[in-house]
Symmetry: C2
């Protein structure tokens, strides 16, 4: 019995996505064109993501800072590729109060320029290095088409910016942060992302290279879900981040940046959710457990408040739905649409046998346990199972939508019938990349770095292949 | 022996303030005019403030959201007083990419308009009320003169916006959030703020009335440190926040907003710090304890790492300075300039007597304890003492700088010799307020709501007084 407010996922995926966002009250369009509002339920997921990642960043020696939200045009222009990449899509501030500004400023689309300018003033010696800073903020890109979480003019993200003494250390940082993201996706979001290197065409403007985390949605469309860039000395030369090296000479520093955004909420929806609404992995769910009393006699209410206390004390995020205006059926549907992983239902009939019911959101399975069971350990066990099962299902689905193509016909047939991740060898020529783009806009997701070639021949031109690439249609 | 990088507080207070900000690496000016960078040490204090307040907000039923950072001009113009109050000091976005916008938008100086617009779309019935939302973000006001934390074009804050069924409920919220701020200042920042109501001249543009938290700096200058506004139905009428009431008719909702900002870091500095740098109350210090080994024999290093672990396990924020490039004296000065409340010094001489030394940052007092003492309980005890003593000293100082004035001569003499909080009765006429402003720019801080009049006569015109007001020179 699917939620009536939600279009079936298999009937109209785009409509289903919007319906889930609305039914779960995650975000709402604002009267500011192209900008969304993160409503409490959406913001709570973002907050949980922030807390989890922030801990991971700090454990690896990163510190938070806050940079200005505006960038003067001249500062932006110091690095040519970056301004070329972003100029068409920034918002320009031209007036302060009633006065025209002498120099216009853009709202940050990303903050490489600001961090580089700051680093140039504080990095004097190799002893000052590395500096590993991060900021949580929103950025603005003047997109034309927007969709909640996936693409909007303003979005929320973190951007890490680090500066190092040596190339090796900076490259290690680039890789290590990619690994952090991959772990976060797997262990918390239950999303089996693939990772690799972007082709030159798809890399970040101004980067030597870009590493990426790519995930596959339920409908076979890919989502670029996080990136980690190695800049070499490009910005340090443009912004003059010079330091006294160990040989008493001067070197330009090596830099990285890396980021993930509120787009991850879109990934969570499109990987896990269903026709009844949101499905959240327990480790990222803002509310992990909801207790629903069915009826309100003394025993039921006593048990409910006892469980509430025990679970809270154990650090589990739990609430109690004792609204006397709504039926149990309504309460169940409500908990489902919000994606709360575990429901505890306490009703007369179960209690006659000394039992209560635990219901999993992901599979809808119900399970009776003794009302006197150790509720904390039962819930924790069930949440572990849900978390693992969700990852296993997402992995199996991704694998079932992953294909090899050895020629363009095959490639085209896959993308037109069962889109997903397509593995195919590539010669490295951008023209072949463009040829593939003609197939429903398919782009290279990433170059797999540690895998062997499939056939040794480019899937487009048949010439000698250089790379084993994963391709996909993207959001 | 004061820190050589820091000007004496009694010699040049403004220079001292800047020196402390720089020496403790709290913030740095950016190349974006009027905007500061929150460096790691400054951001860490802000983060601790955020975490503490966020918990207090959530415990009282508030939820976090995120609104767009831009406000279209027309939306802003719906409430006349607000736009009049803020128009001279907003940053206007007029271009997106290379195109002129049809309607310019300002970067939010505050978000009453956005919240009201949102509430008008989601509030349908009294059953939807109250909605108690908050957001953590930065806002932009095009100030001419800026000073780190006290006044800058961009600053970081939280803004709570709530919407209620009745006037009574909304007024209770306004008062309750003022109380929350007062408690936070007292219990965490160790600042004895005074509270009351702003005069009409000093209230927030668009508010029915504004309640305020005012604190007094070491030099006798006042700082408006947090405000809580009651709007009545003014915004709900301008933005059409109408709901079905319990009588099946329609009512306009009642609203509040309230906020505190990164300016509180300025207050912390100017209330507590000294010529050796920052002094932080233990409950808001990002690093509460620093362990400094003096020498590095096996016993010293063993004790250091043992204390580190015990304190960490107890949830105390602690680090270990075992840099072998710097002397103990340098390490002590460094811990002092950063305002770390407690130092644990482990040295040979003490150990010969089986002792170690705990040093308080606030008083510089040293105290020997047995190396085998329960370090967690000793440190917690000392931190409680420091926290209480800091509040007691700040309270005594505030009281010593609080005066009564019964006529304008007296008033003027106080402000010109020993500025501080001046209590004086006022008739309620704005002309008398303006007369007082001629004395070094003195403004009303707040009307005390529960206190009796002092003389019953206005301190300016001598006519019958309506209010007992606290006055001060402000930042």
């Amino acid at each position: 019995m699917a939620n009536k407010k939600i279009t079936s996922r298999d009937l109209d995926f785009a409509k289903w996505y919007t319906d889930v966002v609305n039914a779960a009250h995650l975000s709402s369009y604002s009267n500011v064109k192209g900008c969304i509002i993160l409503e409490p339920n959406g913001y709570a997921i973002w907050e949980k993501m922030q807390q989890t990642l922030d801990k991971m960043f700090k454990e690896t020696g990163h510190k938070n800072v806050a940079m200005p939200m505006l960038i003067p045009e001249n500062l932006m222009r110091k690095e040519g590729e970056l301004i070329n990449g972003f100029a068409p899509e920034v918002a320009w501030v031209t007036m302060g109060g009633s006065k025209q500004l002498e120099e216009r400023m853009c709202i940050r689309p990303t903050s490489e320029t600001l961090f580089s300018d700051y680093y140039s003033s504080v990095v004097k010696s190799y002893r000052d290095l590395p500096l590993k800073y991060n900021q949580w903020c929103s950025v603005m890109r003047w997109e034309k088409e927007t969709r909640p979480f996936l693409r909007s003019r303003e979005f929320w993200w973190q951007e890490g910016h680090t500066v190092h003494e040596t190339q090796e250390e900076a490259e290690n940082e680039t890789r290590s942060m990619l690994k952090t993201y991959e772990t976060f996706f797997k262990d918390y979001l239950a999303i089996p992302a693939i990772t690799g290197r972007k082709t030159d065409k798809e890399k970040f403007a101004g980067a030597d290279y870009t590493l990426t985390v790519e995930s596959l949605m339920y409908n076979g469309i890919s989502l670029q879900s996080g990136t980690s860039h190695y800049f070499g000395q490009r910005f340090s030369k443009a912004y003059d981040i010079k330091f006294l090296n160990r040989q008493n000479g001067f070197d330009y520093a090596y830099q990285t940046s890396w980021g993930v955004s509120s787009r991850m909420i879109g990934a969570l929806i499109m990987v896990h959710s269903d026709d009844d609404g949101l499905v959240l992995p327990p480790r990222i769910a803002p509310t992990q457990v909801r207790i629903i009393p069915i009826g309100d006699n003394e025993e039921i209410m006593g048990l409910a408040s006892g469980y509430l206390k025990s679970l809270k004390d154990a650090g589990i995020s739990v609430d109690l739905d004792n609204n006397d205006q709504t039926s149990p059926g309504f309460k169940f549907a409500e908990a489902e649409v919000l994606g709360i992983p575990v429901r505890i239902e306490i009703g007369k009939r179960d209690l006659e046998n000394g039992q209560i019911t635990l219901t999993r959101r992901d599979t809808k399975q119900k399970m009776q346990i003794s009302k006197d069971a150790d509720i904390v350990s039962e819930v924790n066990k069930l949440m572990d199972t849900i978390q693992n099962d969700m990852l296993a299902r997402a992995t199996a689905r991704r694998d079932s939508m992953t294909f090899n193509a050895t020629n363009l016909d095959e490639f085209s047939k896959i993308m037109n019938t069962t889109p997903g991740f397509v593995h195919a060898d590539w010669c490295g020529d951008e023209n072949c990349e463009l040829k593939i783009k003609e197939i429903r806009g398919t782009k290279s997701r990433c170059i797999l770095e540690d895998e062997k070639l499939l056939t040794g021949k480019c899937v487009v031109c048949g010439k000698e292949a250089k790379h084993h690439v994963v391709w996909g249609i993207q959001y």
